[in-house]
């Protein structure tokens, strides 16, 4: 066990998976000599050499498109998109090919591909560097969408994604890259994709969040618990698609109240699907509307103003209290 940042934990997963299986390879912009602009790929080039660690030219669609070809050719590519904002340039390949090869060929050819990408705000970056667009990928059948929240979940889920026979969009909350540390076991560890995690037990209300939203959520929950003497369950979603509907529905049935905290803009986001799930399977258990706390439906403002536009502890706390008081 070592206390690691998320960057170190992801790096550990890459090292161990590349050691375990020599069909695993890493490609992307600046992932080799430079070890990634966030140093997530540190040491890989030195240890595994050029054919397995590829500094590609600057073209997102080709990074994903050639990785699909590698996967069809028996490899397990882990492609990095430098910032998730540029991943939409590869959506044609992801939606049109990665997501469909298995159904297109009746199961004859799958695409065991991982596309890693730092996403989300909070690091004072330039335009297009702060978005959360997981809902777009989640709407595409054939893709899986995973978002870890802590070093340990990041490491275990990335290992699972690399071993997964299907394409996984692996979105890394870059605000959490170095914000805190967590014990991460040295021995390889995986977690099941498609399973949410109960980050905190509780029975009076359930808050669902993922990625970088988990920390302000936990902070807000603590404040409310302390102030009110209530107990609040926190669900760390971890996988956006396929959604762990069972855990969500159980939470509503057991607590009657739910708040969803989402970094993405409000409309047509993942929280809506969570609400739809509750509507389908637990409507009668609801004692209050499910509260969405999300970014506003504006283009993510440039970094001087962005902070006020992401959900923060204060908004989350108020949302929880409102829902408790409903």
């Amino acid at each position: 066990m070592a206390r690691m940042t998320m960057v170190q934990a992801i790096n550990l997963a890459l090292h161990q998976e590349m050691e375990r299986d020599d069909s695993v390879l890493v490609l992307g912009q600046d992932v080799g000599v430079n070890e990634g602009v966030f140093r997530v790929t540190a040491g890989l080039l030195a240890k595994f050499g050029e054919p397995r660690v590829i500094d590609t030219p600057l073209a997102e669609s080709a990074i994903v498109g050639t990785a699909i070809g590698m996967a069809l050719g028996g490899l397990r590519p882990v492609a990095e998109i430098q910032f998730s904002g540029f991943a939409l340039l590869a959506l044609g390949q992801l939606e049109g090919n990665a997501a469909r090869y298995r159904s297109r060929t009746c199961g004859q050819r799958g695409v065991p591909l991982v596309v890693r990408m730092p996403y989300g705000g909070g690091v004072r970056a330039l335009e297009h560097h702060s978005e959360s667009r997981e809902a777009i990928f989640a709407h595409v059948p054939g893709l899986k969408v995973v978002i870890p929240s802590t070093p340990r979940t990041a490491r275990a889920l990335l290992a699972a994604a690399i071993r997964d026979p299907d394409p996984v969009i692996f979105m890394e909350p870059k605000k959490s890259y170095r914000a805190f540390r967590e014990e991460v076991p040295e021995e390889p560890e995986t977690m099941e994709i498609g399973r949410a995690r109960i980050a905190r037990e509780g029975n009076d209300l359930a808050v669902v969040s993922w990625g970088a939203m988990l920390r302000p959520t936990l902070a807000a929950v603590e404040q409310v618990e302390e102030a009110r003497g209530v107990s609040i369950r926190v669900i760390d979603l971890l996988t956006i698609s396929p959604l762990d509907r069972e855990t969500l529905v159980r939470a509503v049935k057991e607590t009657g109240r739910m708040v969803v905290v989402q970094e993405a803009p409000l409309s047509f986001g993942p929280a809506s699907e969570i609400i739809a799930t509750v509507n389908d399977e637990a409507l009668l258990w609801l004692e209050a509307p499910v509260k969405r706390i999300a970014s506003w439906d504006v283009n993510t403002p440039y970094f001087a103003r962005e902070e006020a536009f992401f959900p923060g502890v204060e908004r989350i706390r108020k949302g929880i209290e409102e829902t408790l008081d409903f």
Partner: protein, 365 residues
């Protein structure tokens, strides 16, 4: 204003077999007779299949279909040049090459009949499915080539696409990656001079597709795409380069789409018969037959026998296609992921329950 010239490039053109069936002796690849016959037979089969499929489409027995009549030489020459371990990455107008790789015509019919099962090929065919998003298959070919080399295989990849497809970003990005990686891949552009109604000169201001190779620092060559020996030679040489680790090549096969874009298209809206006529005279089948006759490999009797054989093959394929039994209706649910998640299994049940009459409930269990 005088400027120093620092780079010079040239683009070659290759024709081996001319319209009269004459082989340039300096360029003759010296193919054995059986290969010459094989090329011809493959082209006739492709042509006959085209004709039949047009009829099947008109009769509603298959869906929209894109014929390749007139372009057969651009398809079969490269296929002949490929080794058994090489990969074929087709666009959607490569029936000739696909048949030569051993994909049954009945499978191809399933594809145009609207069944994913039409993409399930014998593994030995080493062929990816037809690509509908134009140029999106080109990066796959590059990645596949990279994978083969990384895994220590000697295999190369031949990727097809049309002239229109070269305008897509994916074409550009893929060729650039291939050249940087020196990936063992051969890019074959079937320049049939049309992208639906868009003529070549509105597609690009470059005079040839071959010259686009210069942008990637890779060799490009234009060949007479109605000459199966030229397409064969160019791809054979490019494959040799690829295997020798010298990197990719762009081969432009200059040909012409003699018929409609697809059965949904009416070419009289955008081009005249006058424009098409000169290209009918350049029919690859005609010159190849002339060659075979000159070499005493062909006569009317063999022709009749071949046509009869093709008809039989096609009849059998159509029969196999039309008597093919689709699997249970819920198979799409099996194919989204290797293991369907719980919610998909729940949806499968609902789906089965929603089926009308006899099919209702018929599913996985």
């Amino acid at each position: 204003m005088p400027r120093k010239i620092v780079q010079r490039f040239q683009v070659p053109f290759l024709q081996v077999l001319d319209e009269k069936g004459k082989v340039d002796p300096k360029l003759d690849p010296g193919l054995p007779d059986e290969d010459l016959v094989r090329l011809y037979e493959a082209m006739i089969l492709a042509r006959e299949a085209d004709q039949r499929m047009l009829r099947l489409q008109r009769q509603g027995r298959i869906g929209t279909f894109g014929p390749a009549t007139g372009q057969e030489a651009a398809s079969v020459g490269p296929a002949l040049a490929m080794g058994p371990r090489d990969w074929l990455v087709p666009s959607f107008r490569e029936m000739g090459a696909m048949l030569m790789r051993g994909i049954p015509l009945s499978t191809i019919l399933l594809y145009w009949g609207g069944w994913e099962e039409g993409n399930v090929f014998p593994e030995e065919a080493r062929t990816l499915p037809i690509a509908v998003i134009l140029a999106s298959q080109v990066p796959h070919a590059v990645g596949l080539a990279y994978a083969e080399r990384l895994r220590g295989e000697d295999a190369a990849v031949v990727a097809f696409f049309g002239d229109g497809s070269t305008s897509e970003g994916d074409f550009h990005e893929a060729l650039n990656f291939a050249a940087v990686w020196k990936a063992p891949v051969v890019f074959v552009c079937q320049n049939n001079q049309w992208a639906i109604s868009t003529p070549f000169e509105k597609q690009t201001a470059s005079e040839t597709i071959a010259q686009k190779a210069i942008a990637y620092g890779m060799p490009g060559i234009r060949v007479d795409g109605n000459d199966p020996l030229a397409t064969y030679v160019a791809v054979r040489d490019a494959l040799a380069r690829a295997r020798a680790g010298e990197g990719p090549t762009l081969v432009e096969a200059l040909t012409y789409r003699l018929m409609m874009h697809t059965t949904a298209d009416d070419p009289t809206r955008y081009r005249s018969d006058e424009q098409v006529k000169p290209w009918q005279r350049r029919d690859p089948l005609v010159r190849t037959r002339l060659l075979l006759e000159k070499r005493k490999l062909w006569d009317d009797e063999r022709e009749a026998e071949l046509r009869a054989r093709c008809k039989e093959t096609i009849d059998e394929a159509v029969k196999a296609y039309e008597t093919w039994k689709p699997p249970r209706p819920d198979v799409p649910f099996d194919r989204v992921y290797a293991t369907p998640p719980a919610e998909l299994e729940a949806q499968r049940k609902e789906f089965l329950a929603s089926l009308p009459g006899a099919d209702a409930g018929k599913g996985v269990d």
